[in-house]
């Protein structure tokens, strides 16, 4: 708790400082611009699309990969990074994340919450952005939670730590919307609106989940027709029309029908996976990705035939009934059956070692090194429709790269540097070197705060700050911790799994903050 206070105080001071000197400092607060030309030399390069290059080089120009090859001559103006004995892979793409969200990730009061948008609540100083960068993650698909059959709108971000929230979204990436099937939307685990609750919220069965989705798309289709008719008549020259009333809840669903917004659906059981495919077929939209999809291995052919992607965990299981047939071979079976598969985190900490989680598919199911690496690079890029920009080390793509000291698919590999758009956003040596300075700065601020507190009249709360500054819960390591029991808040609100990697224990709550 003490440190929350410290962090808040720090932020308050920073906020005040910035408010006073904003124009001058806003640029200074950002990381320095990348040098226009960088040459990484002597590295083992996992290109993903054209094999491994030993002692290879990558030339970066204006944030893009200009050239990849066995030997590239350093241009006169290049900053040379000697990566001898090191390993470079494309930046890791986490297809299921809840980092950088201010507050809860669930608008849990209604079963169709398509009106809300995660992009509206991005928090660029969530420390998990930095921690995930330190784990080699460069892109995250930031999703709404799974409390609703149709959840909120979602956004793909680049982990540009230090940049304002407006600079986080991945330019040009199609937005998404979260759907959820099974135990979470029917609220099986932990009361709060499920069967037996004082005020149950429809739906409470998988049948009802299907009808909720179907009902919403019936409305969306009608709504789309109303607008289509209107637009047609306007373009035919009709000038005396009143536009139909806008419906912000249905608009995102119309975008789904028009292929302008991806559906990312939380699911577990084989039957509900097929259910959503039927509903999608009925209304003529595509399921872009099934998320978690822990029983995807049972219906892999059907998923492949529908052209849907599958984004799953490496080895989570048994935390609830619908996860009791989860197997670590899931990714391998689906891959073998032709599904584009990714391994995701759903958890800020899990995201810091997705390279290791991908490696497990070599052990469980015998995927090749390249296939395993694709699970956290090119495949999630394809699932998010950004594979022309990221996901492999190819000329023309964004220079989003991770440098490790070992083969990244080893438990002994440590990230040395993470680059986004050709700019170093994480550098292990710099991180270590900066610690003493940060510690000293924190101490100074604390002392200042102490002095200020002693001058304040009784009852004034130093930690309180101007409106709009609060950042509770939502994956904060020490934010407003959730109630200890399995409630909808802990079970569903801040995570998709309805559970976590650890017990719903007080210590786990403390460790995981809101991510239970």
């Amino acid at each position: 708790m003490k440190n929350t206070f410290v962090a808040k105080t720090l932020k308050l001071s920073v906020a005040l400082f910035c408010a006073l000197f904003a124009p001058a400092l806003s640029r200074a607060a950002n990381p320095p611009d990348a040098p226009p030309v960088i040459l990484i030399q002597n590295a083992t390069i996992y290109t993903i699309t054209h094999g491994i290059i030993d002692h290879g080089s990558i030339l970066i120009r204006d944030g893009k990969i200009a050239e990849v090859g066995a030997s590239i001559k350093a241009p006169a103006n290049a900053q040379v990074v000697d990566a001898a004995g090191q390993y470079v892979m494309p930046g890791i793409i986490d297809c299921h994340s809840h980092i950088a969200v201010d507050g809860s990730v669930n608008e849990g009061s209604i079963s169709v919450s398509s009106i809300v948008n995660i992009a509206d609540v991005l928090n660029s100083d969530d420390v998990n952005i930095y921690r995930d960068l330190a784990g080699g993650v460069t892109v995250a698909n930031v999703l709404h939670g799974s409390a609703n059959s149709i959840g909120g709108q979602t956004v793909v971000i680049k982990l540009r730590w230090g940049q304002p929230a407006s600079r986080l979204p991945f330019e040009g990436a199609l937005p998404g919307i979260k759907f959820a099937l099974g135990e979470n939307p029917k609220r099986s685990n932990g009361g709060g609106g499920g069967r037996g609750a004082q005020q149950p919220r429809y739906p409470t069965t998988r049948m009802g989940v299907e009808e909720t989705i179907r009902g919403a798309f019936v409305e969306a289709r009608d709504y789309k027709r109303t607008w289509d008719d209107y637009n047609k008549r306007v373009s035919a020259g009709d000038k005396n029309l009143i536009a139909p009333r806008r419906d912000l809840r249905l608009e995102p669903l119309v975008e789904v029908l028009e292929g302008k917004r991806y559906v990312h659906s939380h699911c577990y059981r084989e039957d509900e996976i097929l259910m959503l495919l039927r509903v999608a077929k009925e209304f003529g939209f595509k399921v872009r990705t099934f998320q978690h999809v822990l029983e995807g291995y049972k219906v892999a052919d059907e998923i492949a035939a529908a052209g849907a992607g599958a984004s799953t965990f490496s080895d989570w299981w048994a935390y609830k009934v619908e996860a009791f047939e989860a197997i670590p071979y899931n990714a391998a079976i689906m891959t073998r059956r032709g599904v584009v598969v990714s391994i995701n985190s759903d958890d800020a900490e899990e995201a810091t070692h997705l390279n290791q989680e991908a490696a497990k598919t070599m052990h469980y199911g015998g995927l090749s090194h390249e296939e395993a690496m694709k699970l956290v690079t090119l495949n999630p890029a394809m699932q998010l429709g950004i594979d022309k920009r990221v996901g492999s080390i190819d000329a023309g793509k964004d220079a989003d790269l991770v440098i490790y000291n070992h083969d990244p698919l080893s438990a002994y590999a440590v990230v040395q540097k993470t680059l986004i758009d050709g700019r170093v956003y994480f550098d292990r040596q710099k991180d270590i070197a900066d610690r003493a300075t940060l510690e000293a700065e924190k101490k100074t601020l604390l002392e200042k705060e102490k002095k200020a507190a002693s001058k304040r009249p009784e009852g004034a709360d130093g930690a309180r700050r101007p409106g709009g500054q609060r950042r509770p819960g939502g994956g904060r390591p020490d934010g407003a911790a959730p109630p200890p029991q399995s409630t909808d808040d802990t079970q569903i609100n801040d995570s998709d799994t309805g559970d976590s990697k650890t017990d719903p224990s007080p210590s786990a709550s403390a460790n995981h903050g809101g991510v239970l």
């Binding site: 291995y297 048994a318 935390y319 009934v321 071979y329 438990a411 995981h512």
Partner: protein, 456 residues
Amino acid sequence: MNRSLNGAIMSLRFCFSLCAVFVVSLFFGTTAPAQTTSVYAITHAKIFTLAGAPIEDGTLIIRDGKIAAVGASVEVPASAQVIDGKGLQIYPGLFDPITQMGLREIGAVSATVDSAETGPFNPNVVAADAVLPSSEHIPVTRAAGITEVLAVPASGGFDSSGGEGLLGGQASAIHLNGWTISDMLIKKSAAMVINWPRIQSNTFDPSTFARRQRPYAEAKQEYDKQVDEITDWLDRARHYSQIASHGGSAEFDRDLKLEALGPVVRGELPVLVFAENAREIRNAVEFCDAQKIKMILAGGDEAYKVKDLLRSKNIPVILRPTLTELREEDLPYDRLLTQPAELVAAGVKIAFGSFDNSFARRLGQQAANAVAYGLPYDEALKAVTINPAQMFGLADQIGTLETGKLANLIVTTGDPLELTTDVRYLFIKGELTSLDNKHHRLYEKYLNRPKATNSK
């Protein structure tokens, strides 16, 4: 007996090289189903005994459930079933000292959860009494090379109704194989769980179902009260123990809870104290010191802050997974990853624990990650084998590959801490034990699903 044969057949499935499959099928085609009384010889393997330097080309003999011989020039008995260990490596089986193995099947389904009793003081409940030998978690965990665990009640703090158990009950050391719990037991009562009280200014109020802030003084008062209560239990147990030793009745006027605490206050049974913050760890250490009881720290997020105290009092630590989110945003991102190395450098004995069932198979990964951040490799291996065995007084039976110890061991394709290593054979109490499990069965089943024809 069928089980062992089955195990052998299943272990086949883990062999991806055709050659290995051939060798193994020959081997099991010509021998009777394995029994615990069987004699095995694993030859030409690299043997990491953890009781000396690795043996490059060694042989290990198993007889009557125990390691009969291990060395570079060991004679293979005529009666032995021989496993060619060429290209393979032998290690002691891994030991996960904090799990709820057999006590919790599906986390979200309370009917399958027996991991914590209600109420704050349950020293008399014993994990072994509720361990389900046929739990699906056991074979899954075993396939990761883990041969024994501690099933720990109330590990993590919460009972089934959401309250905290201060005296959580007795942890049991068990082999991960057996038809019944008596087959599985290594030590029924291996430690007494204490969830050390915490000074919490921010608490959960069950009446409003919300969190509320309260003054430090109030939190401290509650903390002191809880510590006093634990003290009181131990004092009473001490008196009870003295009376009992002076010929008190064995059958009448018994107090089961005080009786259960007897071995603790007599210094025979260690207490496994769950605490995370430096302040609480320090208080717990001082408490145990004053009470003259043997402490093992579990959790220890901030153990690095009190490492000198832990070393000077000789208190070992079972670390919460290195793969855990940091509790404070100001901490260096690798704080939990570098802690194991820091503690070992300071002379503190450590072990890694999963604190879980379904993530028990990440035990090796945790240890390897700590190596990546500075822990010497040998220390990492010890931290998942001999160190936890020593903590619970089991080092004479397990933890290293030495003559006379139980044959709990694994034969692997390489480093058992690395993500891609296969466990080829696993022995528990000298029995060649199945590596098959629910996950592998489902894999086989759905790998062989005929191509769906109606999938369009």
